[in-house]
């Protein structure tokens, strides 16, 4: 595959790995958080950990879109499908997220709810056009990567005068989540969760640019290296982070220059700003209420806001008591430190959201890396 295989080259990977081992100071530890689920997936899928020195640990951050989706939001979507009879459309990964009462969208579908998997909000628009007698709701989730397409779908629905299309908006914002992690007591108290730097988002940064991370470097003195989702991207970013730490620098650097600029995609940002505004606060699974961390649909487009249209109320639901997703998403615990991991909580029967998507810290470790810490009860 042209332009992709080059970033999976074995010889080059070993050379970068050797450089990391060579340049890492054996007298100290390095702890870097990769924010994005895409990075977590790449690290696990390619066994990148095997190429890193023992004193360098990667902490899997909260950037897995389905992992941070709270139970209450999935419940809202299920209620819409069951109680209001809507045709509910969403992305594939969302189908398995555990909701209340042992349900998920996939299980709700099996019980008769009309739930459709789509690849794009435009597919939901098409369904709305083709089914004028039905209410079609797009359950929109994800970070800044998936937000512009939702904005465009809403604008297109308006220009086409679609009367039966609306969006259950659950889009969240990356910089707010990073700030939240940095302000958490565990990180503030350096002895509990030291984070020496961040591997910055790939696709998110294409949209928002590298500028929004500059505050993390200046205010919190944490290096950030924006990286692509290929294994060589991640390794090169780790090498750049090691160098920043060694040299006492805290800067925003960009490894993903083939796609990310400082200003980002102005056109996408304008579409987002036109359709959405920032919510005062939003519940993240694992992180709790995070101020100014999510988007809602502006009043101008209220007709397309499913929350207004169906007068929905949000009912928060607590995670399973023993589920450690929250601590894992903040980097306080490793998946294996959760009592449920690999026992009652597996990719087939996820209790917590980190086990749902292969981008989640728990599922990535279970599916790709559990040979490193056997024994685990086999499925």
């Amino acid at each position: 595959m042209k332009y992709v295989d080059e970033f999976r080259d074995g010889d080059l990977a070993r050379r970068i790995g050797d450089n990391i081992v060579h340049e890492a100071d054996p007298s100290r530890d390095y702890r870097f958080m990769e924010f994005c689920g895409g990075h977590t997936h790449a690290i696990a899928r390619y066994g990148v950990v095997d190429l890193l020195p023992g004193n360098l640990r990667m902490i899997h951050g909260p950037g897995c879109p389905v992992c941070v989706l709270p139970i209450g939001r999935v419940d809202m979507a299920i209620r819409l499908a069951f109680e209001r009879g809507v045709m509910l459309c969403t992305y594939g990964d969302v189908m398995r997220v555990p909701a209340s009462d042992g349900l998920s969208l996939m299980r709700a579908k099996a019980r008769g709810a009309d739930i459709r998997m789509v690849y794009s909000p435009l597919d939901a628009l098409k369904l709305a056009s083709a089914n004028p007698g039905r209410e079609v709701v797009f359950f929109a989730i994800g970070f800044e990567t998936t937000t512009p397409p939702t904005a465009l779908a809403i604008r297109q629905a308006e220009s086409e005068g679609l009367q039966n299309f609306s969006v259950l908006c659950s889009h969240v914002l990356t910089p707010a989540a990073i700030t939240h992690v940095l302000r958490s007591p565990e990180v503030q108290d350096y002895r509990t969760v030291p984070i020496d730097g961040f591997v910055g988002p790939a696709h998110v940064s294409i949209v928002i640019g590298s500028r929004p991370y500059e505050g993390f470097a200046t205010t919190y003195r944490k290096p950030v290296v924006i990286a692509g989702f290929e294994p060589l991207d991640v390794m090169q970013a780790i090498l750049m982070l090691v160098r920043q730490v060694n040299e006492g620098r805290a800067e925003v650097e960009n490894e993903f220059t083939r796609a990310v600029t400082r200003e980002g995609n102005a056109c996408a940002q304008a579409a987002m700003a036109d359709v959405f505004e920032v919510r005062e606060s939003f519940e993240w699974r694992g992180l709790g209420q995070v101020p100014a961390s999510a988007l809602k649909i502006r009043g101008d487009y209220a007709a397309f806001d499913a929350e207004t249209r169906f007068d929905l109320d949000y009912r928060p639901v607590a995670d399973h008591k023993q589920c450690e997703c929250g601590a894992i998403l903040r980097g306080v615990k490793k998946p294996t430190e959760c009592k449920l991991f690999g026992n009652v909580c597996t990719p087939e029967t996820p209790m917590g959201s980190c086990m749902v998507s292969s981008e989640g810290a728990c599922a990535a470790h279970y599916s790709y890396g559990r040979f490193r810490d056997i024994p685990v009860v086999s499925a």
């Binding site: 595959m1 992709v4 999976r8 080259d9 074995g10 990977a13 070993r14 790995g17 994005c36 689920g37 895409g38 997936h41 696990a44 390619y46 066994g47 990148v48 950990v49 095997d50 190429l51 950037g63 897995c64 879109p65 389905v66 992305y91 594939g92 990964d93 969302v94 189908m95 398995r96 996939m106 459709r116 998997m117 789509v118 690849y119 597919d123 989730i141 994800g142 970070f143 998936t146 696709h203 989702f229 294994p231 060589l232 390794m235 597996t346 990719p347 087939e348 998507s357 292969s358 981008e359 599922a363 599916s367 790709y368 890396g369 559990r370 040979f371 056997i374 024994p375 086999s378 499925a379």
Partner: protein
Amino acid sequence: MATPKRDYVRPLDLKTGRIDMNHGAGGRLSAQLIAEVFVRAFDNEFLGQGNDGALLPIPAGERLVMATDAHVIFPLFFPGGDIGCLSVNGTINDVAMLGATPRYLSASFILEEGLPLAELQRIVASMARAARDAGVPIVTGDTKVVERGKGDGVFISTTCIGTVRPGLEIGGARARAGDAVLISGTIGDHGVAVLSKRESLEFETAIESDTAALHTLVAGVLAAVPHDAVHVLRDPTRGGLATTLNEIAKQSGVGMMLQESAIPILPQVDAACEMLGLDPMYIANEGKLVAIVDPESAGDVLAAMRAHPLGRDAALIGNVTADSHRFVQMASRVGGHRIVDWLSGEPLPRIC
């Protein structure tokens, strides 16, 4: 006054007609459907016996192998094949994977009210062609009709009976540490070809399903090596190569170590999976087989596969390890290691 013509039955309208509930009622119309669509296409001496069952000869001294498979697929027609040839090849392959010679097929159809007869005829013609090419006659069958909305056009269940010669022991529990793991060609072609035609997902591609009957490939491999050299054969259909290898590891109580860079995959399949956020290791194949063989015979098996048109992209992709945890592992292209786990639920695209 009109005089009825003796023995004249007005033929089915195969151009514009559709299946209705009468076709499944068991009366004259059912008999006509069977005669004009199925028997005409499948025609062979055993079907011609005209009984509800078929009386079949088998070679003396051989053991019987039987496999059955239900086929449901959307869309019914996809690049490189359709539900018809798929239902013949898939079941033949299940028999062939025990080293058996497939000999007879049965087919039962659940038709949905409203199915165009022209589509049914196309599907049946495709089955007949696949069965003829494979040299395995369809000797008995059944048809039922369900109301509109209760089927997906047509569901086809097929059963295949084969025979295996004495002394040949091939099965999923026979993999041993040290064995070589081979695949007969590129992975993921079928699944991606079908996905490319799904309503919400249409993308331009020249990828075709690899649906094929593999028994002659199996025969070629078995002829090339000592009779006890081939330990396991299996076709990695639903769940893909990853799931098949995990099944074998579990059955045999072993682990495996694969080399990612050795696994053959078409660049366009790789690219489609990349775009859709899917892993080709979990995508279905319909014309590939995994062979787990004595390491001493690996070279001969590979050569025999590559000498066959259905095995020209065959590759040695790893080996069997002693591992009480039965982990299928992979050395990635960049040099790290990971587990290649069972498929978990339906493969769903990632968002990030």
